[in-house]
């Protein structure tokens, strides 16, 4: 280990519980100003995964005892093989799709609902909408995206799903409870009788680094900070992500060359040096990529 990386704590993969698929690469129909991997219609630094890529990883995942599968991008539904991939995945375990909700079709969702009913596992959808009104959402995600995404949420609810709406926080902490309450009302008025909401922190990399500011050099995890810290809070402790350029440590850091762990899952199980500013955000907020944390926990900070 070099001197530069030894300043940062290393994290071992405790077990491979979650497997992610960068199924749409960095290709998206939107160009959100806070996207941590700068996805857009023209960003082809990562390309779509094929059905065969996914199937190969699913087969390999069994020997590692993977518990659940996540599909992200870019916008996953731009990949026309997604429905086929999800149907195959539901034979292995639960699946979650992270979508911007703007390109959904009723017939696709009906097809997927039938696939979920035929499986013993859940198919979850997480829809990114960055606030309960266009005023908050559209400046970041693009004009008209609030209405389109809300329509997508309605389609998901009509099809029988209970989508989780995720918001990247662009407001003060003190406003979060009001925002959650407002969003619950908005979702109920759009046919979502049981709204599920999750607030995410901003990750100051990719496009967001240009929109606001990047990480300060002091915003890093130190070895001392890992004492008595619950490592399960960090995705890199129990996950890896499959991309068309190999296996990476997490879906946030795919544009960092040191985050590429290997060609196959079996060759990607080594520890990772947490040297990025985004690692610090994960440390502060905990399990930001998983489905179950619906609002940020109390945040540990450097003292």
């Amino acid at each position: 280990m070099s001197q530069a990386t030894s300043m940062y704590p290393s994290i071992e993969l405790r077990s491979l519980d979650e497997l992610w698929f960068q199924v749409a690469g960095t290709v998206c129909n939107l160009t959100c100003e806070h996207c941590f991997i700068s996805c857009s219609p023209h960003n082809h630094s990562f390309e779509f995964l094929s059905f065969k890529d996914v199937e190969t990883a699913l087969q390999e995942s069994v020997q590692h005892g993977v518990r659940e599968y996540y599909f992200t991008g870019g916008e996953p539904f731009l990949n026309k093989s997604l429905r086929q991939m999800l149907k195959r995945t539901l034979e292995y375990g639960p699946a979650t799709v992270l979508t911007n909700g703007t390109v959904l079709s009723r017939s696709w969702l009906n097809e997927l609902y039938a696939a979920e009913q035929a499986s013993r596992f859940s198919l979850e959808f997480r829809v990114s909408i960055d606030g309960p009104s266009p005023d908050i959402n559209d400046p970041v995600r693009g004009a008209g995206t609030f209405e389109k995404a809300i329509q997508g949420v309605s389609l998901l609810c009509d099809a029988g799903f209970l989508p989780i709406v995720t918001m990247t926080q662009t407001w003060d902490d003190s406003d979060s409870l009001q925002i959650l309450e407002d969003f619950r009302s908005v979702l109920k008025s759009h046919g979502c009788s049981r709204p599920r909401l999750k607030i995410l922190p901003r990750l100051k990399i990719g496009a967001e680094e240009n929109r606001t500011e990047g990480y300060q050099d002091t915003e890093r995890i130190t070895p001392e900070m890992m004492h008595d810290f619950d490592r399960n809070q960090l995705l890199c402790n129990h996950s890896r992500v499959v991309t068309n350029r190999g296996i990476f440590v997490c879906p946030i850091l795919i544009e960092s060359s040191d985050a590429r762990m290997g060609e196959t899952l079996g060759k990607s199980l080594q520890p990772f040096s947490m040297q990025h500013g985004a690692c610090y955000t994960c440390y502060q907020y905990g399990t930001i990529c998983s489905n179950t944390t619906l609002s940020p926990p109390e945040r540990p900070t450097k003292s």
């Binding site: 590692h64 518990r67 639960p94 596992f121 198919l123 209970l162 599920r196 179950t292 619906l294 926990p297």
Partner: protein, 274 residues
């Protein structure tokens, strides 16, 4: 061998009495409680004499660890503010109303119990073998993951209770994972009864039972979920008298969960009313 397994008592001593009576009527060889004796219900000290008088071994749940060590919260693992609000109310009530002797007893419970039944290695835990408050839901847990737990923890049958809704799955080589359900509140199914589980192995299993093939000879295993009916109106009345939340009482009387919902995967959530 015949085992009665239950957990998540949540201070529901009336359901515990009924579950013990049911198990005795079935002439089980042993009754084991998989933890979380307190929470939700009234008069937390009332479950302890029942457990001791019937020689019921107990696994330590996250709630038991918290009350036993007088921690600030229940370590239930909820992440939603409303869920945590209700969890904290019942935690403070339970902490205040559990005797010092019973706190010590909870503190010293084991985090797992292992036993051998007709040659099968049985591992009884609260959440999962690796973490007391890990939620293992039926719809969000793959077979590959459960196979891994069985292998890593060297068990043919793993049973837990933490997530609170009963389910069982046959794994590779006929091994099993079981969530035995909870006695403390209904199963979010619109029914007021609660659930216990009977596991029968070897000669006590059904003739057509699933055969578990561990390293030794094949052993049949039968798993039955048993509805436990008790005087839920009396429990609700006592909860009211103790000023416990109306939302909890509604669950006892209706069979639908009204709190702790955000942690559910969509499939389990959709099966309920709220």
């Amino acid at each position: 061998m015949k085992l009665a397994l239950f957990g998540g008592l949540y201070s529901n001593y009336l359901a515990l009495e009924a579950a013990i009576a049911d198990a005795r009527s079935r002439e089980v060889d042993e009754i084991v409680c998989l933890g979380d004796l307190g929470a939700f219900g009234p008069h937390p000290d009332r479950v302890f004499p029942l457990l001791r008088n019937h020689n019921i071994r107990c696994v330590q749940g996250n709630y038991d660890n918290s009350i036993g060590n007088q921690l600030d919260d229940c370590q239930c693992g909820y992440t939603d503010p409303r869920d945590n609000h209700f969890a904290q109310m019942s935690y403070e009530y339970t902490l205040k109303n559990t005797s010092d002797d019973n706190k010590v007893w909870l503190r010293d419970l084991p985090v797992e119990i292992r036993m051998v039944a007709d040659g099968l290695k049985i591992l009884l835990c609260h959440g999962s073998p690796r973490k007391t408050n890990e939620f293992l839901w039926e719809s969000s847990t793959s077979n590959a993951f459960l196979d891994r737990l069985s292998a890593e923890y060297n068990a043919d049958v793993i049973a837990g209770t933490h997530s609170g809704i009963r389910w069982a799955r046959k794994l590779t080589d006929g091994r099993h994972f079981i969530n035995v359900g909870v006695l403390g509140r209904p199963g979010n199914d619109g029914q007021t009864h609660v659930w216990s589980t009977i596991v029968r192995t070897g000669a006590d299993a059904d003739k057509d039972a699933t055969v578990c093939r561990p390293s030794g000879p094949a052993v049949p295993v039968s798993i039955d979920f048993v509805p436990i009916r008790y005087n839920h109106h009396r429990l609700a009345k006592e909860m009211r008298a103790e000023s416990l939340p109306a939302e909890f009482i509604e669950t006892v009387l209706s069979g639908w969960w009204t709190t702790c919902l955000e942690i559910l995967p969509s499939r389990e959530r959709r099966a309920g009313r709220f």
